[in-house]
Every structure is written in structure tokens, then in C-alpha cells.
Symmetry: C2
Subunit: 266 residues, 2 copies
Amino acid sequence: MRLRIDLAYDGTDFSGWAKQPELPTIQGSLDEALATILRLDEVQTIVAGRTDAGVHAMGQVVHVDVPDDVDPRTLAMRLNSFLAQTAISIHSVREADPGFDARFSPIFRRYEYRITDTSSIRDPRTRHYTLWMDEPLDVTTMNAAAQSLLGLHDWTTYCKAREGATRVRELQRFEWVRDENGVLVATIQADAFCHNMVRNLVGVCVAVGRGRLDSVDAVVLRDQRVRTAAFAVLPPQGLTLAEVGYPDAAELALRASESRRRRNPV
Amino acid sequence: MRLRIDLAYDGTDFSGWAKQPELPTIQGSLDEALATILRLDEVQTIVAGRTDAGVHAMGQVVHVDVPDDVDPRTLAMRLNSFLAQTAISIHSVREADPGFDARFSPIFRRYEYRITDTSSIRDPRTRHYTLWMDEPLDVTTMNAAAQSLLGLHDWTTYCKAREGATRVRELQRFEWVRDENGVLVATIQADAFCHNMVRNLVGVCVAVGRGRLDSVDAVVLRDQRVRTAAFAVLPPQGLTLAEVGYPDAAELALRASESRRRRNPV
């Protein structure tokens, strides 16, 4: 039986999602909890969005294959008990629809990035998941840059180099707003993201908001398709994986096989 | 010259507001920062709301008397630099209006208390300033209990015993709502609060929300004017001092002398 697990975590004290020997990781904690509770030798969860060290999640999704007699509701309660002293919270465990693949079935991933600048009212309670900058940022030009980037493009400029894989993705939403405390919040959604793409995209907008780049430069740089030192990649602490979107049950398997083919061309 | 300082802090790693030898406190950090920057032997800030260990603040206010040549704007910047690695953020420093007294001039203090129950979507990023309960709470009966308590009353039932001082206060606002994640948020406002009063008031509402008390019991217990074991005082982590309200400049001194007289009767 395949289970879908929805979860959230504060990434501050973890070395990212993926299991690593000797280091605290979210996958390491989750897989250990699953193996202990289910009395299995090894468990290997598959995740929708591999988050880097220090990145948080509110709407992370994984799948895992388990024996057929596992009760999802009981497992959810036992996982939360097991993980109670950690920064990981299980939102739900349920039997996955046929064809569901946490990594390959999604139709979108949505991230948020939070920044306080000199116009924000700073809330120290949120400093673990907000980047504090001692400069003024211009939300209007940042939003113009963000909007200009939308669509299906090659994102080589904004991705950490990795051989072989395509860097064509569809950027579906990208906007900046100030919340009630004046905190700048970016919403960034795509079918999928290359490695470091979100932190590069918010980075180019911050360079625009500081006046270091013009808002049209974001598209000019993108279309050059080369890595650049014109802006800085932003640190992980401001980033949260907000939501992973899946198609209707009937489309799950088709979507998964399309994604696998597109991202791993023969 | 008297300065008014507005500040915020995450109280998690502090032993409360008030200076204590050998323990990390917010006043200890702030007074040390002021003394160092202003090259004074000793600084003694006076605070609007003394918060207990683990309690947070977004709208705390203090006053402090300093030499006339201090520039408030420069001091604000230097304080934030000095306190940059701490969980304390200075929102503003300005010359206080004549008659201003951070402790005695307020016309209200407003607190917030945050609880996740089994209907909330849990956000591990906020766990330092939210109480997590593994039970369902009924926000309707909690709100009914809260509303029934409003007005000018003797709060002995809901205060930590302290000799001599009056326990008559005006509860001006008390309501519970669920936010967009289903987190229960209480807004509690009074002219002033006795020691532990907020955490007792949210405690009686939680007993109502769990079905241990009827919503009318909150008033019945209050009017008995004796301490009781019928409900539990809630822990500090869910509590934040949200705002301190002051009257117009012309009323500051009058209000301060009235408050002093009322709370310290001859």
C-alpha cells in the first residue's frame, strides 16, 4: 500500500531534507520514525520538494510504500507522538490514490520567501523564517521584475549547474506584497523548480529592489542563459515550501510518466 | 531628557523582563546596551508591561532618563547593532512627551494568546510562540466566557496573590477567533493587569472550551474572589504583549498620577 503523508517543519536545525549520515535531516527523522513504528528494517520516503538546509515547509508531501495492514490514522497519531519534541509536524497520513507519486505527479510547487527591510515592523518571533535586511526595498520594481519573468522558459541563469537535466520550467506565479507588518512576502509557483531556482529568483528581485539592477534586467539575464554575479542568491532561512499541487486522481499516473520523461530525457 | 523606546522580543530564551543577576533577561540586555552605548555607569529602564519568563512582546514600551545631548535616531540604530545577535528588536527611540511615564501613563495594555488544537493546521515555525494542545477546543463557548467577563471588576480569582495592592481592573476587550490556519487567537485588553491575570483568564476559557467548565462559571468564579483549582494557568510561551496604549500628550501626567494613586493607595 502506498501512503501519502502531508507534513510541515521548521528547517532551522536540520541539514536539509535528504538523509545524510551523522547529520540531522528531516528525511532522516521521518524515515527513522516510520521504521520504528512499523518495525521495518528500512523505510525510504519519496519527497515532492527536496528542501535545502535551513529551508522550511508548511505543505510538504511524501509517499512511502508500506505493508497493507497499516492504518493511516493511527500511524499519523503515532508519528506525531514520536516526533513531538522535534520541529516536524505530520498534518495527515492517507492511502494514496492509484498512480500517485509525490515527486513526479505534482502540477505545481508553491514557495514563499519573507524579507523585512527598513520599512517593516520587525517581529523577533518570526526571525527564524524571515530574512532581515538593513536596507529599504522597492516592492513596486520588485513586483514588476517578478511579473516579467512568468512563463515557460529555460532557467539556466537562475539554476545551480547540474549536468544533463533540462532547465525548462513554467513559472506560473511570482509576486511580491507587503503584509500587515510591512514584511515583503514573495509567492513563487512553478510546475517544478531546478536546484536553487527560488533563491536565485528572489535574489534578482532584491537586486532590483535595492536599485542595483533595473527591473528589465531580470528577463535580459534569464535570456542570456548563463550564470552571473549580477545578483546574490538569498539565504535559506526566508524560504518556505508552502504547497504542492496534484492533479485529479484520474490524471496522477499520466502526469507522473510525463514528468519522468521530460526531466530525464533519453 | 526622557526617552520613549518601543521594542519587540522573542522571550523564549530569556528569564523574563526584569533584571536578575546571572540570568539572561530583556531588561538586563537592554540596560547593558544603553549603558555601553551612552557610556553611563548604570541605566534603569522603566517598563510598561513586566513580562514573565518565556513571554514575548511586539509592542513593549519603556522610558529611560538620559543626558540631554543624546540623539534618539542615532541611539536606535546603535541599539539595534548592539542587540543584532539577540532576539530583541528596537522599533523606535524618541524624546518622550512631558509627563510621559511608560508604567503609569498607559490607558490600556493589549495581549494576544495563541493556541493550536486538533482542528488547527500546525505550523512548526510558530511553535515558540503558540501553545500546542492535543485536544479539540470549542471556540464558541470560549468566546462566550470571554465576553461575559468584560468590565470593571475585582480579579482576585484570576491573580497571583500579592498583599496590599488593589485587584480592581477594567477588562476592556476579550475575544477568541480562529485565524486562517485555525489557530485560536485571544485578544485581551485591560487598563492594566495583575500578575498572571492574562494566563489565568485564557486558562479559564480553555477549561470551558474543553467542556470542563460551563461558560457561565468564568463569572461565577470571578465573583467568588478566591483562588481556585477549577482551571489551569496556561504556560507563558503562547503569550505576547501586543500593544500599550497611551493617552494624548496633554493627559499623560494626569493619567500617571491617577494610576499611581489607584494602585498604591495610602
